[in-house]
Amino acid sequence: MAIPMDDVLLKLKEHVAFLLGVDASGIAADQPLHLLGLDSMGFVDLLVFIEKQFGLSLMNSGLSQDDFASLAVLANRIAGSLQS
């Protein structure tokens, strides 16, 4: 199931905005996740969201901090995984 990277990014931004209680337009796609204000609980919830929404389990997939460098990088990684 291929999903365009922009659509993945939009869903990620909407979920992070929801977790932080802010508007999605205020979420920068190019900022590291810890600078967006996500804490451990929010991050785990984001991973669970990705698993449910895209069917990808990122929790034990050996992702490094670089894969979470920003929402854009993460969306790119998810879109790439869905294509392969």
Binding site: L19, D39, S40, M41, F43
Partner: protein
């Protein structure tokens, strides 16, 4: 069954009632409720009369500050607010008899306030300006946990600072009377959540719980606080250590593992060899889709429970990864939602009965200690009455039992770590070294030999 709220009535949530139960338990054990305090350190000397005037004007906008819990015909507890608060004055004190408002002076004063059973009688918030013969002062806010959690308190102070400086727009004031449903429907679902929680806890915590004894004269013992303020560089290093040890953004499991490793030798000599640490961690609540954004008033909390053998708690790095996996498993299996769901049902009990039920439910195994890591600061305003805000620190009274806990709050680019305990839970000579050890472990791993 949905029951609409009236303008003076706001249904309490599951977390509110859990806080009410812990508050009642602490009241019975120590004779004092669980209040919490936030000190705002400022550069300069705010004018006391103007501060009092602005604070009391601000509070009068929120009649619910003078409210109290009550019970609806449908059994759901609610917060009953007075119709009007314009003639009411929130407690304000100008304290000039404590010397300069240094961190040590502020701690001593907050220990007195926290140990005063009447600190918040009648109103859920109070302010004291500590003003000594120095260039800097401190504003000490006291909050009733029934009406505020830590994040809500920061939003409340943030808005007050802007209100005091004439910078708060009318649209920024929260409407505390937004209707909330009673949520005492779906009993079958909520019973099932309680069962799920019970089973998960039995699986997670199979052994005996490590608990320190409360002092026999707990009602006469004061609440104490010790503070460790990290520098900006230390805060960054702690975060890097956390990410490298427990994984990206896994600061809470790392801090919990560090705390457990620090507490371990202090527990090991006093509890059974096979006892487990049981730690309650309060976190921000994961809201279901469609729910409105977090608010100023009431408790928007969730809880996670962690278990680990005391004997192995000294292995910080391994523990951090185990705790991370416990956290992921709990979120994935919907434990926070199950806790909230079952707490909604428990609201049919009076707080005292709920507190006693907790003992039974947890098989007399309330937590060994408590931990809270607050996220990004919500107190973002830079000034109050023209004085620059230097930093702010949280001092919560920990429910007793266990009467022992750590809270980390971030202010600007630094973390403050506060050890909160009931005097006598640990010997003072052990308390004196605890935060130094915690700091070394947080930044480096094992503490250096003295």
């Amino acid at each position: 069954m949905k029951v609409p709220s009236s303008s003076r009535k706001r249904y309490l949530g599951g977390a509110d009632w859990c806080v009410a139960a812990l508050r009642q338990g602490t009241l019975e054990t120590t004779g004092r409720p669980t209040t919490f305090h936030v000190a705002v350190f400022v550069a300069g000397n705010p004018d006391p009369a103007r501060l009092q005037d602005r604070f009391q004007d601000y509070c009068a906008r929120f009649p619910l500050l003078w409210g109290r819990p009550a019970r609806c015909w449908c059994l759901a507890p609610y917060w009953k607010s007075p119709a009007d608060a314009t003639a009411r004055k929130a407690s304000f004190r100008h304290g000039t008899d404590f010397g300069p408002a240094t961190p040590a002076t502020v701690v001593r004063r907050i220990e007195e306030l926290a140990s005063d059973p009447d600190r918040l009688r009648g109103c859920a918030v109070a302010l004291e300006l500590l003003q000594g013969p120095a260039a800097d002062d401190a504003l000490v806010f006291s909050f009733d946990h029934l009406l505020f959690d830590a994040a809500g308190a920061e939003r409340f102070i943030d808005l007050f600072c802007r209100f005091a400086d004439g910078q708060a727009a009318a649209t920024e004031f929260p409407d505390p009377q937004v209707p909330e449903p009673a949520q005492l429907d779906q009993w079958g679902k909520r019973f099932a959540s309680g069962q799920k929680l019970n089973r998960a806890l039995r699986e997670l915590l199979p052994g005996a719980t490590a608990n320190l004894e409360l002092p026999a004269d707990a009602r006469r013992r004061p609440f104490r606080f010790r503070v460790l303020s990290l520098t900006a560089d230390e805060t960054r290093r702690a975060q890097e250590q956390a990410f490298a040890t427990a994984g990206y953004l896994m600061f809470t499991p790392y801090v919990l593992a560090t705390a457990a490793a620090t507490f371990q030798p202090r527990f090991a000599g006093r509890v059974a060899a096979d006892a487990d640490f049981v730690v309650t961690v309060s976190t921000s609540r994961l809201r279901p889709p469609g729910e409105r954004a977090p608010h100023v008033f009431f408790n928007d909390l969730s809880f996670l429970y962690f278990g680990l053998p005391v004997a192995q708690a000294g292995e910080r790095d391994a523990m951090a990864r185990i705790l991370r996996d416990q956290m992921i498993a709990q979120v994935k299996t919907g434990m926070p939602a199950a806790i909230e769901d079952s707490n909604l049902l428990m609201r049919i009990l009076p707080p005292r009965a709920f507190w006693k039920f907790m003992f039974t439910f947890f098989r007399n195994r309330l937590s060994s200690f408590a931990l809270t890591c607050l996220g990004d600061p919500l107190l973002k305003t830079a000034t109050v009455l023209g004085c620059a805000i230097r930093t702010h620190v949280h001092y919560p009274v920990m429910p007793a039992p266990p009467g022992l806990g750590l809270i980390l709050n971030r202010s600007g680019d630094v973390y403050h770590v506060v050890l909160s305990y009931l005097e006598g839970v640990l010997p003072e000579d052990e308390v004196a070294t605890l935060l130094d050890e915690f700091r070394q472990r947080l930044l480096n791993g094992a503490p250096q030999p003295q």
